[in-house]
Symmetry: C2
Subunit: 197 residues, 2 copies
């Protein structure tokens, strides 16, 4: 036996979302059946509205509802620092650290295994931003994975040739971690990157 | 810094769903930004359609897009057995066991702590179904919690007075479980309910 068709379809749609298995999808669909008509409409409308109103910033690639985005337009931010990240959510995370430079979102989920395509990186655009803003340092904040590392090195080599300083985030101990449980590679990196007290 | 307003609203809407925390909500919203316009519309539409087309069956309370539902209309099912469950998803679970009787969905999340309201149980309707169909046994399949137990006993007392046999699901060991790790109450119940081999 299956659920009624429209309900089954809603379960299937929820199950397409990342990290949502069939059981959770069913629970979500049945939750939607319980809430008010208005609440359900609110969710449906938010999806449609976000999908139609949100675009990528023409300068930095950040998800925004105005072009250029509020980050690019922010005159309080330091134009001489440019942080390169993979996805828009990384911008939020790095901004939270107090970083006050500008961003450039690569908008690529780089995967070595699936034929990591470095040609997808829009270097002309990065270099245009660098020149226009007089960027003095590019901080490459790709994910601390092999894929992210390859991308970081490639970007570094390409932009360093233009005479720009390029740095990347430090590897090391996560704050609050326990040395006993930290993997060998991270620990070795934190030894290599040790700092004088 | 926050995400652009329409995106932030979508995150908030996702976070209202049960078991979806703010991090997961953000991941879901950003996933919606990545998928095609068509896929996003599919989700929004499925929500709206399910919400408008799905109703409670006028006889048994099951979530359905036709009234009476396919279960009530199913002539292959045994009319003499009526299984009472709390929610529509319980119907699916019990049907999967091979149960071939009919169902009655209470559609109430009974919570003793929040003033378990037994008056919400629609006894006239249950008794109407019982009489019309010539039900000979009611199987009360409320959740194995204290709340479910109270509801089960209440239903049993009320309907038994009408001369109908009332049973409930057996407590005992979960198949594949490990006696060492089974809680004391369940184990005691399985001792009480021991069966001759």
């Amino acid at each position: 036996m299956r659920l009624a068709a429209p309900l089954e379809r809603l379960v299937d749609e929820f199950a397409k979302l990342p990290g949502i298995g069939p059981k959770t999808a069913q629970r979500l669909a049945l939750h939607v059946m319980r809430v008010s008509q208005q609440e359900a409409a609110g969710l449906a409308e938010a999806i449609t509205r976000a999908k139609t109103q949100i675009i990528h910033c023409g300068i930095c690639g950040y998800l925004t509802d105005q072009d250029p985005c509020s980050l690019c337009n922010d005159t309080e931010r330091d134009d001489s620092l440019l942080c390169l990240v993979e996805e828009s959510q990384d911008v939020i995370a790095i901004d939270r650290t107090g970083f006050n430079g500008k961003f450039f979102v690569l908008n690529n989920n780089f995967q070595l295994m699936n034929g990591l395509d470095l040609r997808k990186i829009d270097f002309p655009k990065i270099l245009e931003v660098v020149e226009k803003r007089g960027v003095q340092e590019i901080i490459v904040a790709t994910n601390p994975t092999i894929d992210g590392e390859v991308v970081a090195r490639y970007i570094a080599e390409t932009t360093r040739a233009k005479g720009i300083k390029v740095s990347k985030l430090a590897y090391g101990l996560p704050v609050g971690g326990d040395i006993e449980y930290i993997d060998e590679i991270t620990l070795r990196r934190s030894m290599d990157g040790r700092q004088e007290i």
